[in-house]
Amino acid sequence: MNSQLTGAIRNVFEELADSAPPPDGLAGATLARARRQRIARLGLGGGLAAVLCAAMVGVVAAIVPAGDGAPDQAAGYRRTSVVTSYSGIRDVRVNDPSPAFNYSLLLNPTTGSYDRLPYSYARPDPAGDRVLVRRGDNSAAHPSQVGILNRASGDVRWIPDPDLEAANVWGYTDMGSWSPDGRQLLFTYRPRFGDQNGFLLVDAATLRTRLVALPDVATDNAQGLGLIWKPDGTGLAMTVSHSAGEAVPDQVTEIRFYDLNGRRVGSVPASASLVDATGISPDGSRLALVDRSRRASVVTIADAATGALQATVDPGRPAQLIGWVGDDHLLVRVYGDSAPEGAEQRDLLQVLDLTGQVVREIVPVDDEPQQTFIGSADPLPPGKDDLTF
């Protein structure tokens, strides 16, 4: 590094920043554009807006509009799921953008509404009785802590820092996930210093923590992704990626499987990533892979046993994969900012079949959660069909 370069960068940015005044009439133009969008929303509303939007992007053959009790048109598709938590939402009333001030919205199955939790991460367990929560931002003022919220009592049992080299272990883990049977919690652990890379398994009953050494999470994980559970709970999967230079910084080569003692038990070739715990279909037969380096929204469906390509699912507009809905559908979040001009610029949750057809669409309750978790819609009270998919 040389200081002349950084000085030159400063100068260039200063020149750019001062090179033009803000456009005249910015406030008026902004308000007019916002007004046009509002009129478009009011005029088109509901299913018609969805249909028009789909027609404009030219990729959707059929859309089931959100609405109470609307029948689902896709054969074999039944609404069984619901968003159980919107996690990591920035509180716009707080000046400090630290995640320590983020909150989460947790579905209350009794009322069918979402309750605000003062935690930056809230992930319900498979049964819905407990919630893995996190607070803090790994700073001295707000050290990172993880705990288990008992929904019935409202109490949180904070998980003690395990006795490892790092002073604040929870500051160097991923956010954590429940085992499929709800008995354990998994945290991928990559401390900044030292060589204790691996994963932590926490017994949800006793809070006893076990570190399993797995150097691969540092050496074969250029993308820095966390380990994810296999649906049967017997092992874990990791996207193997290596840096291949600036042009291809984090190239994916395989999905590797481990047992719960960190032993390799298999792998399949891959060129895209498993980005979340819900990237493996519930029956364990399929992987939903996302190519993060190409910035595309296309999801690749691969055979979990062989890595063979089975399908590519294209949402047709920029979207984020949330996970599987059953074994034959995906849930994605499509971004409002990518909506066609004049259409409502609001994020939507869409259920896609494996041909990319939208079979269900709902409006999420908040604009920008960092994580969206889904679960069973069984306990919902009547009249909440608009939440289910």
Partner: protein, 181 residues
Amino acid sequence: MNADLEREFREFIEARSHTLFRTALALTGHRQQAEDLLQTVLVRGVRHWARIRTGAPEAYLRTALYREHTSWWRRIRRRPAEVSAERLPEPATADDTARVDLRLALRQALAQLPAKRRAVLVLRYLEDRPDSEIAKILGCSESTVRSQAARALTRLRELSPELNLQPKEEPNLQPKEVVKR
């Protein structure tokens, strides 16, 4: 939005648009894209104005600017593939050709950086933010900020070898003082 809120929003824009637009210009390097970026974020601000007006609307919108710019879908739509005639004119002078050539080379190299890496450099060198704040604004870890910055600087040197002027150690990459605009 009622008339009072609208008037308040107009006053806010008139007072703060120049600082937000500076950031947008540095992020995009392109006047038209900067206007588009800023207006997109401000439209969102209109929708949420009733909520954000009592908090810290400028901080909210500034963070939104960075996140909007670095979001990958935006890069797909607006990624500048090359330097075009629409770019801001370089104020070249005949008697300082080497310096201008260097700045031009640097602008062109910056234009080829991925959005997030450029955003890290803007936050670090234009806004003089410490890595901890950059991480919060971009919604990533401090280690990611550092790696993105290192990769960005490496890439700049690769793209424009002439930028390697008189190499010498820089003891501290962190800003000496934090200047919030």
